[in-house]
């Protein structure tokens, strides 16, 4: 909201910042964390379209993330497919599965929908664990090639950083255009009241299915990027815990806010890394910070940042006023 009107400037500033960050980092460790933060950002922007704009909660989003990662991993690793082909099939398959799941599941509402998506996520997670001959089972799937395109292999972290954050930027712009379009207005109408939206002629079912499939596509993009970066996938990365973490990132960042999605994803990616120093107590502090953030930043980090910015700007204005006029310029 705070960037309304100036959203192109916002995207441009974000792009410049993202491009310059690698030059300011003291070592490659931060680059790795930022790449992982990029995967999360893509996932959370997609999930925020579904949760924040259309008001539909998914507790099974890690399944689409994992489905794409495993598909491209198996095709390029076991079957020696070229990487772009593996990625294309992985994206297509995850999107198709999302559509198949969306049609019956989106008839469910509220907590029942949460349960439906959670059940789907758990089933997929169990298949990753049990289909050992295909997925390698609990110990994971190794030997996935690095990302390559037309003979160019993206093997250094710095190169990969630009690939991932390039994808983030693209999907971010796509989402911004989407939420400002007629479709975005329809989604918000569904969020406020599905019945009222339907009465006003919004094809609620079609829009809900579309946004669910789109958010699964975002998750799939993150999944293929993840698989070809880490070159190893295991079920643990795509379980219930990951799905819950993604929902937390959406809510903590700020519902119905694309910049909130970016903030939430990056904050909750960096927090565990920052807490690593106080081993064993890190979980406690992580839980406490999560609770405190939710208690004191009701609109999420994006809203909090905007309020903080406004307050700071107000202080500066007041300060210069006061100095110029010689007495306290309260208002």
């Amino acid at each position: 909201m705070g960037f309304r009107g100036g959203h192109n400037a916002g995207v441009l500033a974000f792009a410049v910042a993202a491009a310059l960050v690698p030059f300011a980092l003291p070592n490659d460790y931060y680059l790795t964390v930022l790449i992982v933060g990029g995967f999360h950002t893509i996932l959370v922007i997609g999930l925020n379209l579904l949760m924040g704009y259309a008001g539909q909660v998914s507790l099974g989003h890690a399944a689409f993330y994992g489905l794409a990662a495993y598909t491209t991993g198996i095709l390029t690793g076991t079957h020696q497919w070229p990487v772009p082909a593996g990625i294309a099939v992985a994206l297509a398959l995850s999107t198709a599965v999302a559509w198949l799941i969306a049609v019956p599941t989106l008839k469910l509402r509220g907590n029942y929908l949460a349960m439906g998506t959670l059940g789907f996520g758990i089933i997929v997670y169990i298949v990753f664990n049990e289909a050992t001959s295909l997925t390698g089972g609990p110990s994971g799937f190794t030997g996935i090639p690095k990302l390559s395109f037309a003979g160019k292999v993206f093997s250094s972290d710095r190169e990969y950083y630009y690939v991932v954050w390039g994808a983030v930027l693209l999907l971010l712009v796509l989402s911004q255009n989407l939420v400002r379009s007629r479709m975005g207005r329809a989604l918000r109408a569904i969020h406020t009241s599905e019945t009222a939206a339907a009465v006003l002629g919004v094809d609620t079912n079609r829009y809900k299915i579309f946004v669910f499939v789109l958010s699964a596509f975002y998750a799939a993009v993150a999944g293929v990027l993840y698989a070809h970066y880490v070159t190893f996938v295991s079920p643990g990365s795509f379980g219930f815990h990951t799905s819950v973490q993604l929902v937390t990132m959406v809510v903590l960042g700020g519902m119905a806010s694309i910049w909130g999605a970016v903030l939430g994803a990056l904050f909750l990616t960096f927090l565990p890394e920052a807490l690593r120093a106080i081993e064993n107590f890190d979980i406690l502090v992580y839980g406490a910070i999560l609770i405190l953030c939710m208690m004191f930043l009701p609109g999420g980090l994006a809203d909090g940042a905007r309020k903080g910015w406004d307050a700071a700007a107000g202080l500066v204005r007041r300060g210069t006023h006061g100095a110029g006029a010689g007495k306290g310029g309260g208002r």
Binding site: G119, V251, N280, F281, I283, Y286, A288, I291, M294
Partner: protein
């Protein structure tokens, strides 16, 4: 073992585990009814029940008949504390915000249990001595009788509480319409606190009675929470009776899945059936489909 007695065996072990899912689901339902929150820390209440009993027994030297009620009592106090510290100050906030707070709380409780008790797996001795009993070719552990008996008593107790006591009726009134309940002079805040105390109590009870059969560790709460949530959705959210029945059905499905399909896919079998049922009956087995207010 004949096919029939094998089947009976699966059902018996399914009912045992399912009773615990049912008690967890009952906890979800009680809090949902007064606040519309899905309490993600519910599984942690179950875990804490088992773990505290183990530690009262091992390190505190408290005898088992005392350790069990002590553990349940402490967890009940934790439930009250959770409400007072994080839920009550947040009245009026969005349900999703409150749910995320319960996720934070579950992380805190799990982390606290890990620091206090370590990462090992523990078991609790059975409540009464004696070997397995044979019924129709299937074996029943004495602890199973404890589990089923305590679950039935708890459900009966809840029923009496909700139907016969003033506090119980007041809680039901809050579940129906909070505003109307508060206009009738019901202290809604106290009812919410009571619901947290209750759900912690039944959760801990489930954890304690199951601990002698399955092992317990600081991180068992996640899975038990998921199963409890599934059970109360299966039964129809908001219906205490449905929650317990849903738990038992889920337990039996899982056990049959493990026995007849494969032990690795047992949870998948249960969830596939659950999803199939939700698509046919979108508000669970015993859930009333309420008209939506526009």
């Amino acid at each position: 073992m004949t096919a029939a007695s094998a089947l009976l065996q699966y059902v018996i072990s399914g009912v045992t585990v399912g009773a615990t899912y049912g008690l967890t689901a009952l906890g979800f339902t009680v809090i949902y009814n007064t606040t519309e929150i899905i309490n993600f820390a519910q599984g942690e209440f179950v875990m804490l029940g088992g773990m505290l009993a183990v530690f009262a027994l091992r390190w505190g030297g408290v005898p088992l008949p005392l350790a069990v009620p002590l553990a349940v009592l402490i967890v009940t106090a934790v439930g009250v504390l959770v409400d007072r510290v994080t839920i009550r100050p947040m009245r009026g906030r969005s349900t999703l915000t409150l749910i995320i707070i319960t996720i934070g709380m579950s992380i805190l409780l799990r982390g606290g249990a890990m620091l206090l008790f370590g990462k090992d797996t523990f078991s609790l001795p059975a409540f009464s001595p004696g070997g397995p009993i044979e019924i129709g070719g299937a074996t029943v552990l004495p602890q199973t009788l404890w589990v089923v008996g305590i679950t039935l008593l708890t459900v009966a107790g809840m029923k009496v509480f909700f139907e016969r006591t003033l506090s119980g009726k007041a809680m039901l009134a809050c579940a129906c319409d909070r505003k109307a309940a508060s206009l009738m002079g019901i202290h809604v805040d106290s009812m919410v606190t009571l619901s947290f105390a209750f759900s912690a109590l039944v959760g801990a009870l489930g954890g304690v009675i199951l601990a002698p059969i399955t092992l317990t560790a600081y991180d068992v709460g996640i899975l038990l929470g998921v199963k409890g949530f599934a059970a109360c959705i299966l039964g129809g959210l908001g219906n205490p009776f449905g929650a317990v029945v849903g738990g038992v059905i889920l337990g039996v499905l899982e056990s049959l899945g493990a026995g007849l399909v494969s032990s690795g896919y047992k949870d998948a079998v249960a969830f596939v059936i659950l999803l199939g049922l939700l698509f046919v009956r979108p508000s669970g087995l015993f859930g009333a489909s309420r008209a939506e207010r526009v």
